[in-house]
């Protein structure tokens, strides 16, 4: 695992890092903060699922901090601390915006406030941790740090990309409506289309490090090594998100698979395009 150089610390830098993280949380979570379905889910969603979301998201945040993070880290303890910091900051950002939007106020029961903030915190925390990556091009304070890329790292970033775009779409009613409107043949075509677009991204964007796509490489090599695992990651992330948001409840196996395929379309693009923004 790559170790990044430690930069001189100080109150000014800490404030800039926090400000950047808050900006990232805002940019990434705003579409969800302004989505009615997520406000509603905040009070009716099974608390066990919300707890599962938080518990499963935390290791992802730690790994994300290790890969990117809003400050240079050299130890796992720093990554854990940064993940808590990202969650805390996201909690504050979400609470402020939900209060400004009138979604929560002093009359809202505490349990409902917790639910509404908790469901928004994860995408916001991902945004906070990605802030360094997203805004680093406009920051002149330090040169971009070269990181050692690994195959596992590429798949992990694909998962983050899939989760991020999937998180934006999964809570909406539209995924379910589309899955009800289409037939199994449409779903089959959607799988092919998702994989084709993903592969286009893999070739267009190129993947760094050990998984680099070279011009000499036959098309099927990155297709097997990157595109297919990427689609499975996007499909799994979609199924996970649909379960978290109670969208699979009462569905038949075919219905759940078709809904996951519909959601896997944006998730697959998020997975393949992750390299563009991360």
């Amino acid at each position: 695992m790559h170790r990044r150089a430690q930069l001189p610390n100080g109150p000014g830098k800490a404030l800039r890092d926090l400000g950047r993280a808050a900006g990232g949380a805002l940019v990434f979570a705003l579409p969800m903060l302004m989505t009615t379905e997520l406000w509603v889910m905040g009070f009716y969603l099974d608390r066990l699922r919300l707890f599962t979301l938080l518990v499963t998201a935390f290791p992802l945040l730690v790994l994300l901090s290790r890969h990117i993070g809003f400050e240079s880290t050299s130890a796992w303890a720093d990554d854990i601390l940064d993940s808590f910091l990202a969650l805390g900051l996201s909690c504050v950002v979400c609470a402020i915006l939900l209060a400004i939007f009138g979604v929560i106020d002093h009359d809202t029961p505490a349990g409902e406030i917790v639910g509404k903030i908790a469901i928004q915190m994860i995408p916001a925390a991902i945004g906070a941790l990605l802030a360094k990556s997203a805004f680093s091009s406009v920051s002149a304070e330090k040169p971009p740090v070269e990181r050692e890329e690994t195959y596992g790292g590429e798949l992990f970033l694909m998962m983050i990309g899939a989760l991020f775009l999937g998180f934006n779409v999964a809570p909406t009613e539209d995924v379910m409506i589309i899955s009800y409107q289409i037939t199994e043949w449409h779903s089959l075509l959607l799988v092919v289309l998702s994989i084709t677009i993903m592969h286009g991204f893999v070739f267009a964007v190129g993947f760094a490090g050990g998984s680099e796509v070279t011009p000499e490489e036959p098309w099927w090599s990155p297709f097997i090594r990157l595109t297919l695992p990427g689609y499975v990651i996007a499909f799994s992330a979609s199924l996970y998100l649909l379960w978290i948001f109670a969208r699979t409840d009462g569905l038949s196996v075919t219905g759940a698979v078709m809904a996951a395929i519909v959601l896997a379309f944006p998730s697959a693009i998020g997975a393949a395009g992750a390299r563009l923004i991360l």
Binding site: A208, G210, I224, G250, S252, V257
Partner: protein, 128 residues
């Protein structure tokens, strides 16, 4: 796992890629099988009373609506009529119900109702 940009790829990349290929093929085969062997047709909706609970002066009638058909239904309207004087008819609407799916809901009556004299039915639906 490779750590530099060499042409030689790590075996783990091929193993993960191969397993992913199997998963994708399984998903596609499953969908193709469903598409070929599942006959198309209208939604087949049924409603059943799951439980009747006393709630204050009235009753809450828990129901389950199942779509056993091969097509999804939307705007599903269901009703419950109680025989007790003054209880009347209560109506509910479900947004969507996919093929093979089920959804639960409840009718709220202001008076106690006898489940044996309660009539529940699906009044209508749209095909999305």
């Amino acid at each position: 796992m490779t750590s530099n940009a060499s042409d030689k790829k790590s075996p783990i990349e091929w193993v993960i890629g191969g397993l992913s290929g199997v998963v994708v093929l399984a998903i596609m085969l499953f969908l193709a099988t469903q598409a070929i062997f599942s006959a198309s047709g209208r939604p087949v909706l049924s409603i059943s009373v799951e439980q009747v609970e006393r709630a204050g002066q009235g009753s809450i009638v828990g129901i389950k609506v199942v779509n056993a058909g091969k097509e999804a239904a939307s705007d599903i309207s269901v009703s419950a009529t109680a025989a007790e004087p003054g209880a009347g008819t209560k109506r509910l609407e479900f947004g969507y119900l996919g093929s093979g799916s089920e959804q639960r809901g409840a009718f709220v009556f202001e008076t106690p109702v006898d489940p044996r004299r309660l009539k529940v039915q699906v009044d209508g639906y749209l095909q999305p």
